[in-house]
C-alpha cells in the first residue's frame, strides 16, 4: 500500500472549527447569528438521519438551526408557501429542502422557489448558471468539499488533467465546473464513454461519482494520481456475519491504494466534507446578505 489516505474526517473538523470561529466573531462584532433552515417532508429514514445530523452540526458551529418537519401528505402549495416565508425571514440565511421530495411534488419548482442567495445546496438554476459563467454563486456542498481536499493536498491545480466520472447534476457537473475554474484540463466521463479505463489512466486527478460499487480498479489509475471517491454504496458483507453489510465507494480501494498517490477512503473521506461545506455555505450566505467580507478558504 503506497497511497496517502486523505483524512476527510479530520479536514471536515478543521472546516467546522473555522466556521465556528468565524460565527463567534460575527456574533461578537456585529451581533449576527447565521441561521440555517432545513425542511423535511415525510419520514424517509435516511433523510431523517441527515436532517438530524445537519441540525446538530449547525448548532455546534454556533449557528441557529430551524427545522421544519412536514407530513408526507403536505401539498406542494403549502411547501412553496413555507419556502417563501423562509425567503423573507431575515434570521434565515440558508435554506435546505431535503431531497427526495414525495412524488406528488415538483422538486425542481420547489428548489427554484428558494431565494438563490439562500440556496445553500447550490441547486437553484440561477446558481448553476452563475457557477457556469464564473460568477459568484452558492456552490453544491459535495463538489466544494472535494475541491477543498484537492487544493489542500495539491496546492495549485492549474494544468493538471482531471477526469470526473459521472455527470450528475449534484456532483459530476459542478465538480467539472470547479476544476475548470481552477484551470485543470477536464474530461467528463460517464456510462457512455467508450474506453473508460483508458480515459481514467490519463488523470492526475480522478473524481469518481457514479454510484457503482468498486467500479474503478487499480489498473485504471495513473501511478501517483490523487483519487477522490464520492460514491457511497452499501454492499453485502457475508464475512462480517449473516445479513451484514458494509459501505464501499466507487473505487476499489484495495487495488487503487497500491497505485494512487493519495486516495479518500469510504467512509471517512468525502462524506464528512458535505455537511462541513453546508455550514460553510450558510456562513458565506450570511456574510453576503449582511455585506460583510466572506470567510477565506470556504468558497471556490
Amino acid at each position: 500500500m503506497t497511497a496517502e489516505i486523505i483524512d476527510g474526517k479530520a479536514f471536515a473538523a478543521r472546516v467546522r472549527e473555522q466556521v465556528a470561529a468565524h460565527v463567534e466573531r460575527l456574533k461578537a462584532d456585529h451581533g449576527i447569528t447565521p441561521g440555517l433552515a432545513v425542511v423535511l417532508v415525510g419520514e424517509d429514514p435516511a433523510s431523517q438521519v441527515y436532517v438530524r445530523s445537519k441540525g446538530k452540526q449547525t448548532v455546534e458551529a454556533g449557528m441557529a438551526s430551524f427545522e421544519h418537519k412536514l407530513p408526507v401528505e403536505t401539498s406542494e402549495a403549502d411547501l412553496l408557501a413555507l419556502v417563501r416565508k423562509l425567503n423573507a425571514d431575515d434570521d434565515v440565511h440558508g435554506i435546505l429542502v431535503q431531497l427526495p421530495l414525495p412524488a406528488h411534488m415538483n422538486a425542481e419548482l420547489v428548489i427554484n422557489t428558494i431565494d438563490p442567495a439562500k440556496d445553500v445546496d447550490g441547486f437553484h438554476i440561477s446558481n448553476v448558471g452563475l457557477l457556469g459563467t464564473g460568477q459568484k454563486s452558492m456552490v453544491p456542498c459535495t463538489p466544494l468539499g472535494c475541491l477543498m481536499l484537492l487544493r489542500d493536498r495539491l496546492g495549485k491545480l492549474a494544468g493538471l488533467n482531471a477526469v470526473v466520472v459521472g455527470r450528475s447534476n449534484i456532483v459530476g457537473k459542478p465538480m467539472a465546473q470547479l476544476l475548470l475554474g481552477d484551470s485543470c484540463t477536464v474530461t467528463i466521463a460517464h456510462s457512455r464513454t467508450k474506453d473508460l479505463p483508458a480515459v481514467c489512466r490519463g488523470a492526475d486527478i480522478l473524481v469518481a461519482a457514479v454510484g457503482r460499487p468498486e467500479m474503478v480498479k487499480g489498473d485504471w489509475i495513473k501511478p501517483g494520481a490523487t483519487v477522490i471517491d464520492v460514491g457511497i454504496n452499501r454492499i453485502d458483507a457475508p464475512e462480517k456475519g449473516e445479513g451484514k453489510s458494509r459501505l464501499v465507494g466507487d473505487v476499489d480501494f484495495a487495488s487503487a491504494s497500491e497505485v494512487a498517490g493519495a486516495i479518500t477512503p469510504v467512509p471517512g473521506g468525502v462524506g464528512p466534507m458535505t455537511i462541513a461545506c453546508l455550514l460553510a455555505n450558510t456562513l458565506t450566505a450570511c456574510c453576503r446578505a449582511k455585506g460583510l467580507p466572506e470567510p477565506a478558504g470556504l468558497t471556490p
Binding site: 446558481n127 457537473k173 475548470l180
Partner: protein
Amino acid sequence: MSATVIDGKAIAARMLAATRVEAAALTNEGWAPRLVSISVGDVAAAELYVRNQSRQAERAGVGFEARNYPDTISLEQLTGVLQGLNADPRVNGIIIQRPLPQHIPVKALQRAVHPLKDVEGMHPASIGNIVYNDLALGPCTAVASVEILKTLPLKIEGLDVTVIGHSEIVGKPIAFLMMGLGATVTVCHHMTRQVSVHSRQADAVFVAAGRPGLVTGEMLKPGAALIDIGINRIEGPDGPKTVGDADFDSCAEVAGWITPVPGGVGPVTVATLMKNAVLAARMQMEHYREAYRAAE
C-alpha cells in the same frame, strides 16, 4: 485535401426557412415574434453585426428593431430600459450588442433580461438550464456549433470530443451540450499542458480560443470533425482577412469534415438567434396563456 467543407450558409438557410414557417404560425396566433437590439455608444463597432442580424431577421420573418443609446447613459437607466422591454408583450427577445462602454458591465445587463426573452442565452438561468440538460434557450454560438456537428453522420453518444477554449459563452456551454448528448468531453484551454494529446484522441474538435493557427493538421485524428468557432482579423498578403483558429489548409488534409471561416459557424449562429426568437415568442405565448387560465 480530404476533408468535406461544411457549408454553414446552407445549414443556416435551412434553419431560417424552418424558422420562417414557425414565425408565420405565431403571427397567425397574434404573437408575431419581434427582437429588440440594444447598442450603447459607438454605433460603428456593432453596426456590422446589427445590420446582418436585421437582414437575417427579415429572412426569418422576425421583427427587428435596432436601438442605440448614448454612452452617457447609466447602468440604472439601461436596466430601466430592459425592465420596460421585459414587461412589453410586443417584444419577445432582447439582444445586447457588444462592445459596451466601460461603465456598463455586460453581465449585469444580461442578468437584467427576463430569462424568457433571453434569445442570446446569456442569462445565468439559461446557462443553468444548459448545464441541467434543458435546452430551452442556449447561447447562440455554442448551440450553432453543436447543431453543425449534428448534421454530420456521426453517432454522438460515446463520441470523444475535445473542446479547445473554456469561455463561459462558447467553450463551456458546448462542453455541457455535448455531454448532455452522451459524448465524452475534454475541455482544454491556455493552461492545458499539451492540447494535442487530447485533440488527437478526439472524433470531433471544437476550437474557440481566438488564436489564429492554433489547431494544425497534426493535432487531429484522421477523419475527425473540426468545428472552428474563431473569428480573427489578420493581415494577409492581399490585405486584411478573416480566419478561424484552425490552420485551414493543414487541417483540411487530415480532418473528415471542417467548417470554413467565414461561412461556417457564423451564419448558423445568426440563424440560431432567429430560431431562439420564435422559441422565445412561443414560450411567452404559452406562459401568458397559462397565467390567463390560472387567473380565470
